[in-house]
């Protein structure tokens, strides 16, 4: 029998420490929507998504009520649209029309984001891939809920530097086209190295081609829970610290597993994975940076930050992996800047720079995330930042990503407000020396020697 103490512990995690299920994401294959005619392709996409997810929001609300656990977001990911639209899209504007269809259906079924306006180009780009990539600025400017991602490299294939160069420009154009909203479009655009097929988190969610027709992926969260648990072991050694993180991660992930299984049963869609990420929000206390401080740093960014984050990321995985039958997605600690009050404070106090964040991405679960940079940063410099991050992912056989926002019309020292879960961010300085000759070489960087495992 469950004890009163255990009930109180669970409920305190929810009420005081921001424990929640961050997202139930339904992945949907759109391969059967491919059509040579654009209008009929759009209709098939609209019908399939609305048919598959018509009960998603209702189901989320039901589970929330029965178990008393908040489910913050209900979302959808789809097959990369470059594959789906390749047969019918002859221009970038044709792809934009598909984006608009995705936006319409997202609004109809009531999800706040839909991911998969994507292309997988780690080795080369097809004509369709390139058209889609070039359409991203317009697609994100003319839609509200569509998220876009591009996979630019992998450990097995190397880095597609042509696409890296192109994406630097695309990020810049997206910022320009959404400058009225502080370049918000860039918050919905992420580039990856080693992108996972089953990530439930935005902006990088897409439904990989290796996946089934439809699948439920759940992302849990709970930085506040970990931090509170660590408050109780202040001054203890690393063994105690690591054990505490593992036990807490286990408990948090179990909630995700329960919700995923229940959502899967109710919607009649197979359970895919639980993504056991520590995903912060701007809410006070819901911060990964605060965990780093609790581990013993004055501010995130202080010497020792990379080691503390490495330890955190690893223990979260170790604790979570036994709690769920299938773990996947990004799983680990996210380190976005604008979505984490502790990170924002660290930047404002001068403790955290882009270079330190880059070092941290070697050991966290993803990459440079939600970082506002000056609007006059050149496309080539953005490509350089992307190339660095892709190299870290490629060489270390991990997922890395870049989601930077060049805020048009603003410079270092100013702030940008995105609102809601996206938070606000101080604009961070970028190294001003040029990498243009490097980025303009063209071609691709070969896969590293340790990728040849056959």
């Amino acid at each position: 029998m469950i004890s009163q103490y255990e009930v109180i512990e669970t409920n305190e995690m929810v009420e005081k420490e921001n424990l929640d299920v961050r997202t139930i994401t339904v992945g949907i294959s759109l391969m059967d929507c491919i059509d040579a005619d654009l209008e009929s392709c759009r209709k098939k996409i609209y019908d399939k998504i609305s048919r598959t997810t018509e009960k998603l929001v209702e189901t989320g609300a039901y589970i929330e009520k029965e178990y008393g656990i908040p489910i913050v977001n209900k979302r959808i990911s789809v097959t990369p649209i470059a594959l789906v639209g390749g047969a019918c899209c002859k221009t970038s504007d044709d792809f934009v029309k598909i984006a608009q269809t995705l936006d319409e259906v997202a609004k109809k079924v009531g999800v706040n984001f839909l991911g998969g306006y994507s292309a997988l180009v780690s080795k080369g780009m097809t004509k369709a891939d390139e058209l889609l990539i070039r359409s991203i600025p317009k697609a994100l400017a003319s839609t509200e809920r569509v998220c876009s991602s591009v996979n630019l490299g992998s450990t097995r294939c190397g880095i597609n530097m042509d696409a890296v160069r192109l994406m630097g420009e695309v990020v810049k154009q997206t910022a320009e086209l959404t400058k009225e909203q502080d370049s918000l479009g860039c918050a919905k655009l992420v580039v990856f190295c080693n992108a996972p097929d089953d990530n439930p988190f935005m902006a990088g969610a897409f439904h990989g081609v290796t996946e089934a027709d439809a699948v439920i992926n759940v992302g849990v969260s709970g930085p506040g829970v970990v931090r509170t648990a660590l408050e109780k072991v202040r001054g203890e050694n690393f063994e105690v610290l690591c054990e505490t993180i593992k036990k807490t991660a286990f408990k948090v992930t179990r909630v995700g597993q329960l919700v995923a299984k229940e959502a899967s049963r109710m919607l009649g869609i197979p359970f895919g994975i639980v993504d056991l990420s520590l995903a912060p929000t701007p809410a006070i206390g819901d911060s990964v940076a605060d965990i780093l401080c609790e581990i013993g740093l004055e501010r995130a960014g202080a010497p020792g930050t990379t080691a503390a984050l490495a330890l955190l990321n690893d223990q979260v995985k170790k604790g979570g992996v036994m709690a769920s039958s299938y773990v996947g997605g990004l799983s680990g600690a996210f380190i976005p800047v604008s979505e984490d009050q502790g990170m924002i404070d660290a930047v404002l106090d001068g403790a955290l720079s882009i270079e330190k964040l880059e070092a941290m991405t070697c050991v966290c679960s993803v990459g440079l995330d939600m970082i506002a940079i000056p609007g006059d940063t050149s496309g080539a410099s953005i490509s350089g930042i992307i190339a660095d991050e892709m190299a870290i992912g490629m060489v270390n056989a991990k997922t890395t990503a870049v989601r930077v926002i060049p805020v048009i019309g603003k410079g270092v020292g100013e702030k940008v407000e995105f609102g809601g879960l996206l938070g606000y961010a101080p604009i961070m300085p970028v190294n001003a020396f040029s990498c243009e000759a490097f980025v303009n070489r063209g071609g691709r960087i070969p896969a590293p020697i340790h990728s040849f495992k056959n």
Binding site: Q4, N11, R254
Partner: protein, 92 residues
């Protein structure tokens, strides 16, 4: 199969909290399996009930809303949750 729900009541202690909750449950044919209650820090009331809803005459959502309302009327917070969430989190 048991259909167990955990009801928690938290708030300032007053006369008749348990009576009111139990009366409601009896009316809806919800069977109480276990009750534990403590008073912490002087007069802070903390109660946990395990109930069986197999014969219940209402839906989970209705029970949850009704008890929430009842709680408000007597100045306590009443929460209903399926037992599985606690089992999952605290039992391997």
């Amino acid at each position: 199969m048991k259909n167990k729900t955990i009801i928690t009541v938290v708030g300032k202690d007053t006369v008749g909290i348990i009576a009111k909750v139990c009366t409601y449950l009896a009316e809806k044919k919800i069977n109480i399996l276990d009750i534990s209650q403590t008073i912490v820090a002087g007069n802070y009331f903390n109660m946990m009930m395990v109930v069986d809803r197999n014969e219940a005459t209402n839906h989970f959502g209705e029970m949850s809303d009704d008890l929430e309302e009842l709680g408000k009327s007597i100045g306590v917070v009443i929460k209903c949750q399926r037992e599985e969430i606690f089992d999952m989190m605290h039992r391997v």
